[in-house]
């Protein structure tokens, strides 16, 4: 006979929450340090690192560092550029990679496994090894835009976007997820008269919520943290993303408070995006929880 004592249960729950809170605090420390330090003048900031005061918003607090950061670098432009480049790349990448995965899983064509193998093999090639060849390619690529024909993609948004739309990891994530979907669903849709596009659009993608969220988060992190590539291909200040912008604060006189202010500003979009995706991530898992 087992009797559940409600007070005992409450205690268990409380213990669990205390432990979880502690873990959360440990993970939050660097972020708290960054946010708190961004409000302190440099001399106090350095003094406080010797004690727990480093994590507390105490002493001479002001938004001075933020104003200074804006004076030193075009922060708004950098953030806008990063958001634009990252947003467009993530959207296009999810679309293109999921379509590619659809072709690998739901369509039959000769050479399918070979092509997939080659794509997966690109996963082990570090970006650094192809950076220089890629630079040579994009520097000569033609483009027809609103202002007519031009040669060379340097100093543009597209040079930061196009090379990253299709990537092996995202395709692999979609392929694995699609393989786990019941194959009968696509076949049933086909018998009902659906075209490949309709199967993709109406059957497969509505069930792809979890993998969309995962792929979007991973792609977002990669794109938002881009440093080497934009440094190589974008010299024009007005097209540069946030990570490259960090350079501005390490030249001349180093100001830690301003660095912390700048970091705080560029971290907020990441956290916001993650929290947003986390919600849809959980929702999509719940909606596909269908028993066989």
């Amino acid at each position: 006979m087992s009797v559940i004592d409600p007070s005992n249960r409450g205690l268990q729950l409380a213990t669990r929450y205390v432990v979880l809170t502690l873990i959360a605090v440990i993970f939050a420390f660097p972020l708290v340090f960054m946010l708190v330090s961004s409000l302190k003048p440099d001399d106090q900031l350095l003094r406080d690192t010797a004690s727990l005061r480093a994590f507390l918003p105490v002493g001479d607090l002001s938004l001075q560092n933020y104003y200074a950061a804006f004076d030193r670098a075009p922060v708004g432009t950098f953030i806008l550029n990063s958001v634009l480049v990252t947003g467009v790349t993530v959207a296009l990448s999810l679309f293109v990679c999921s379509m590619a995965a659809f072709a690998f899983v739901f369509l039959r064509w000769s050479g399918r496994d070979l092509v997939l193998g080659v794509i997966l093999a690109t996963l082990i090639v570090p970006f650094e090894t192809i950076a220089i060849p890629l630079l040579l390619v994009v520097s000569k690529l033609p483009w027809i835009g609103l202002d007519g024909f031009s040669l060379g993609w340097l100093n543009t948004y597209r040079v930061q976007i196009v090379p990253f739309i299709a990537d092996g990891l995202t395709i692999f994530l979609f392929v694995q997820y699609f393989k786990d979907l019941p194959g009968d669903l696509a076949e049933a849709a086909r018998v009902e008269g659906a075209s490949n596009w309709q199967i993709y659009r109406k059957v497969v993608m509505p069930l792809a919520g979890p993998v969309l969220a995962t792929a979007a988060i991973l792609k977002f992190l990669v794109m938002y943290n881009q440093y080497l590539w934009p440094l190589m291909v974008v010299q024009e200040e007005g097209r540069r993303p946030v990570m490259v912008g960090l350079q501005y604060f390490f030249q001349l006189n180093r100001a830690w408070g301003e660095i912390m202010a700048y970091l705080s500003m560029i971290t907020v979009p990441v956290l916001a995006f993650y929290l947003y995706m986390q919600r849809s991530f959980i929702a999509s898992i719940a909606s596909t929880g269908v028993k066989g």
Partner: protein
């Protein structure tokens, strides 16, 4: 009109041939069941008719048109899958209307047709639920609803009942039978369950190893199996087979016997036999009866088997007696009453010669 004909239809996966030149004719409105052990190619054949698998060679016609190279949607078929394959992210209503949505039907048309399908399948109350909220039987109904709503000329069922429990399976079997009478469409039904095959079919196609073993009505196949495989596959418990030697041939009559079987004259429907040769004699368990007393009640031309009782299973309405014959082979008799046979008791089982089947070896 949607008669279906297969002519020398073949299918290979790489170098292995899984469908080996199949010829089948299915009349308009007929209920045809493909039955066979797993791996016999019945599902592959169905998927070829559906257009989900290519046809390696041969000709497939539906309603007179050659459809070998037509995609599924142009074959005017609907299919019910073993896993039901209903879309988990749509409501029942959206699932049933899926084909109509794809075809660009108007909202009013969809509503009328979905309502009609729901009425036929008695699932009006389920229309706004999602698949996660349905039981297995209800999901099956949705799958069938999605199939009937487009009014296809041919229905294809791929083991639709195998995921249901026994009681529900019987209900749904009856319903599918009713549905066929109501819709009068051509139906092809794949199963490994011979009870489903016997009860539903106008025509049964028995398949084995990618080849057609026999085609015919359920009773034709039951009473006149063309070969050992069909004889052993249909009927439960399955037919008893005895190795016998041919003692004599006179016209269409063949005298057979072995050490446990007294000489008996049977009239085989298949094969040719010569005296001194060997053959297989098949008798269904239901046609074996014990000889009582001195045997004067048993007709003199009956076949008689001698053995000892090895096992009895009393099922109430029926008693299944397993007997070890004097040549150490085993036969099963299904007696239509509750009787006790002590294990080890000597028993003589008799059968009418016209109820025995002889097959060449």
């Amino acid at each position: 009109m949607a008669e279906i004909s297969l002519r020398q239809v073949r299918k290979s996966f790489g170098s292995s041939e899984v469908i080996k030149g199949v010829d089948i004719d299915i009349a308009d409105g007929e209920f045809c069941v493909f039955v066979g052990p797993s791996g016999c190619g019945k599902s592959t054949l169905l998927r070829m008719i559906a257009g989900l698998e290519d046809i390696s060679s041969g000709e497939l016609r539906i309603g007179g048109r050659v459809v070998n190279d037509l995609p599924p949607k142009e074959r005017r078929i609907a299919m019910v899958f073993q896993s039901y394959a209903i879309f988990p992210h749509m409501t029942v209503r959206e699932n049933v209307a899926f084909g109509l949505t794809i075809a660009g039907a108007s909202k009013a048309e969809k509503e009328t047709k979905v309502a009609e399908a729901a009425r036929i399948l008695q699932m009006e109350h389920l229309l706004d639920r999602t698949p996660a909220q349905l039981s297995g039987g209800q999901r099956q109904r949705v799958a069938i609803g999605r199939a009937i709503v487009r009014k296809p000329e041919v229905f294809l069922f791929d083991e639709p009942l195998s995921n249901l429990d026994a009681a529900l399976r019987m209900d749904m079997r009856l319903e599918i039978g009713k549905l066929h009478q109501q819709l009068k469409a051509t139906m092809i039904y794949v199963t490994h369950d011979q009870v489903e095959a016997m009860t539903l079919a106008d025509k049964i196609v028995v398949l084995k190893g990618g080849e057609v073993m026999q085609v015919g009505s359920p009773m034709e196949l039951y009473h006149n199996p063309a070969n050992l495989f069909v004889a052993g596959f249909l009927g439960s418990p399955s037919m008893n087979f005895l190795d016998v030697e041919i003692r004599g041939v006179q016209g269409s009559r063949v005298l057979v016997a072995n050490s446990a079987l007294e000489p008996v004259e049977v009239m085989p429907k298949v094969g040719t036999y010569t005296p001194g040769g060997r053959a297989r004699l098949g008798v269904r368990p239901q046609y074996l009866t014990p000889v009582i007393g001195d045997g004067s009640a048993t007709p003199p031309n009956a076949g008689r088997l001698h053995g000892t009782v090895a096992l009895t299973e009393r099922l109430g309405a029926e008693t299944v007696v397993e007997t070890t014959l004097s040549d150490r082979s085993r036969v099963i008799a299904a007696l239509a009453r509750d009787e006790v046979y002590p294990i080890g008791a000597e028993v003589t089982l008799a059968f009418k010669p016209e109820e025995a089947h002889l097959f060449p070896v």
